[in-house]
């Protein structure tokens, strides 16, 4: 059930009515409705994996309690290890088994052995990377005495399987979401309106920007051998907008939907393409995953403390693991490594936290220095996306090789009258996001346009723009596969 599908448009109003009108102010009933609807939502994808989700929930619930009850550090560590091994075991089996087996066989082949390999036809359970990380953060937080384990299994299950974030995040933390699940929730008009606006903006990003770009991106990347250098550049640029529109659009819809139910989720994107350096980009892109890795991997490894070598090692580990988290393919690892290489000079020169504020705050245009920083960072990001999008590393290298050919100066093949509406929407999109970069999302306009009539007109125009320019091919969200 996609957020941009008729199924969800029917499902959510039913949940909304049951949640606010039937359960009313009864917290237990509200949470029960959330849990049942979340399981229903998940079962719509593939009911067989619902049992895996329930098992994973129970595992972390139980090991969390055991860690808390353990008297010695050693026993606590043992329970933590059990939780981590089983969680990563499932993730590893479903997501990485074939990758490891095939990579092993390739290595053996290269040294002259021809082992019988045993690949399996494994279906990746949707959202497994996300709910596994939810559960693991809970167990880690209990181990680190940041959270007390919950005895109420329903509340805990809602934390793990809450449907707005179940299949593609944001990756929530127990410290942020659990207290909200456990507190009485009252309907808040302003929050609900804000939620609706964020959903509308998310739909625009997904259906107009991402899905329209996807048509050209697929065409270009699937036949890159036949394209000119300039077309390949356009393909990479379109993919940058596709993945941003797709994933941040999904996050906007998730946050907006949740806000309608009175629950605030973690922000996942903060205008990453306006970043002045790569460090800032990673503070603004998929923020819930970046902070997860920072808190549960980077800092335990020593973070940026210590000498040069541990800092370089930790940086590479976190970026490689982050790349690998996205999927079992060397392209994601190459993408992670490339970002680590981008990041290292900033880290080693202690400039990785130099751009913490909002770019050109209070001004319309950035300074030259900022503009150059934004352009360079965006260029580097687009370059890395080529690896992320390509089927293999060899394809990515060949793609880049073809960009730097004499045809780079030709007129891109995809530019025609058919791409004009998309181009106009992209320009509008960038302008609106730039003007609203100090807001949580770009359509947060109630403070700018005091006239309700004007605001409503904007919503109507946006709704019809989505309808007429949007691509309703029901493309699944990219991050569902992770």
């Amino acid at each position: 059930m996609l957020f941009n599908s008729l199924g969800f448009a029917l499902f959510f109003p039913v949940v909304f009515v049951l949640y606010w009108f039937v359960a009313k102010n009864n917290l237990k009933a509200q949470n029960f409705i959330l849990l049942v609807s979340s399981y229903f939502f998940y079962a719509c994808w593939d009911y067989r994996f619902l049992f895996l989700l329930i098992f994973s929930t129970f595992l972390d619930y139980y090991t969390g309690l055991k860690i808390y009850e353990s008297k010695t550090r050693q026993t606590k560590r043992l329970w933590l290890l059990i939780s981590v091994v089983i969680n990563l075991g499932f993730l590893g089996f479903f997501k990485y088994y074939n990758f490891f087996v095939e990579s092993f066989a390739e290595v053996m082949n290269s040294v002259g052995f021809k082992p019988d390999i045993w690949t399996l036809n494994i279906i990746l359970p949707v959202g497994i990377s996300f709910y596994t990380f939810h559960g693991m953060s809970y167990v880690f937080d209990i181990y680190n005495d940041k959270v007390v384990p919950r005895k109420n299994f329903v509340n805990y299950s809602v934390f793990v399987s809450y449907f707005p974030l179940l299949v593609a995040g944001p990756i929530e933390r127990a410290t942020h979401l659990l207290p909200q699940v456990e507190s009485p929730r009252k309907f808040d008009y302003n929050k609900a309106v804000d939620g609706m606006r964020q959903i509308l903006w998310g739909l625009f990003k997904k259906i107009v920007i991402a899905d329209n770009c996807a048509t050209y991106v697929n065409m270009i990347f699937d036949n890159y051998q036949d394209q000119t250098g300039s077309t390949l550049v356009v393909g990479a640029l379109f993919f940058a907008f596709q993945i941003y529109g797709d994933f941040s659009g999904y996050s906007d819809i998730a946050l907006g939907t949740s806000r309608l139910l009175g629950i605030e989720l973690l922000r996942n994107f903060a205008y990453p393409y306006f970043s002045r350096d790569i460090a800032e980009f990673w503070r603004r892109w998929h923020m819930s995953l970046s902070s997860w890795f920072r808190d549960y991997l980077y800092i335990p490894l020593g973070g940026s403390k210590g000498g040069t070598w541990p800092r370089v090692r930790n940086t590479f580990i976190i970026f490689l693991v982050s790349g690998f988290w996205h999927g079992a393919n060397w392209t994601f690892i190459a993408w992670g490594a490339l970002n680590a290489i981008y990041f290292l000079p900033l880290l080693l020169s202690n400039r990785n936290r130099s751009n913490m504020d909002i770019v050109a705050q209070g001004k319309i245009f950035p300074s030259w220095r900022e503009a150059v920083g934004i352009a360079v960072t965006f260029g580097l990001t687009v370059f890395a996306w080529i690896f992320f999008r390509s089927e293999t590393v060899a394809d990515a290298i060949a793609y880049i090789g073809r960009i730097f050919s004499p045809s780079l100066l030709s007129i891109p093949g995809v530019i025609s009258s058919d791409t004009v509406p998309l181009m106009i929407c992209l320009v509008l999109f960038v302008i609106i996001e730039w003007l609203q970069r100090d807001k949580k999302y770009a359509l947060q306009i109630e403070g700018i346009f005091s006239s309700r009539l004007l605001r409503w007109n904007m919503y109507i125009v946006l709704a019809f723009l989505i309808y007429y320019v949007g691509n309703f091919g029901h493309h699944a969200f990219i991050y569902f596969q992770f």
Binding site: F187, V193, M196, P421, Y459, I460, F464, Y467, Y468, V469
Partner: protein, 313 residues
Amino acid sequence: MKKFLKEFGLFFLTVALLAVMINYCFGKRYYNHYELQYKEIVEHKKKIDCIILGTSHGTHGIRPEVLDSLGPGFYNFAMNGSSPEFYWNWYTNVFAPNHPKPKYCIWATDWFLFDTVWLWRQYEQDSEYFPDSVFYANLRSPDFRRQSLILNRIPFTKYKSYKDLPNLFRRYDESQFIISKYKDGFLPYWPQKVERFKDRYNNKLKDYFTISTRQQQIFEKLVQRMKDDGIQLIFVNIPEYGSKKTEYEKISTFQYLDSFARKNNIPFLNYNLEKRTPISDEKELFADWGHLNDKGSWEFSMILRKDLSSIMH
């Protein structure tokens, strides 16, 4: 909550109202001769003994009123962009269940008869024009995509491309067709547009289309079905402007049709080859290279009447 629901409801109603208005405007945009063609099938206003099938070349090229004097009642059911697959669905789901069997069928067969790019029309796309009984019967059929039938039934959802928007408030057809002369499925083109005559199709005609085996198989299946229903088929290739015999002879569709017609004892009147007439050289009889205009269709229908008189006894 009340305030939120009230405002959301109002917003939803405003959007819905706008959608209804757009729906109305789109619904009125075209002169729906397609709707009239479908209506005739269920209402039987005319006694029809001969149906005319084909693409736009047929819709705007063959005038039933000229042929009626032959005796049997003629009706033009040709629709632009319609492939054999379209007509299979049309015949088995609309025509055969709702209309008495005719004696004859004239099929205006073009050289792009089996090309699915030239012949783009999908059966479900026509649900906008279906009479209610046909629409509901199709909804129950497992052969068609229900969602597609519903979305194509409503102009607001059918014409949802931004490219349709500029046409919202103008009646697109009036500039092309003489609507006042619509009769029995036939709709004439204005005599016009000299600048639209381009010779490009003549020179490399054989490169401009492909042959889909699937369409060919469906064509054969439909011909057999009509023969089983006791309908006598006649293939007609309508004159095209500037057609050259030497080029048209090389067209594989015609070679196939010729042999298929011989094998099945179907008369094939090809007005670009053996039955070519001076019509093909007179620019003023065409709206463009492939479509006869009002005057051209009249003159061609007179010639066709004469040729048909020896076939329809």
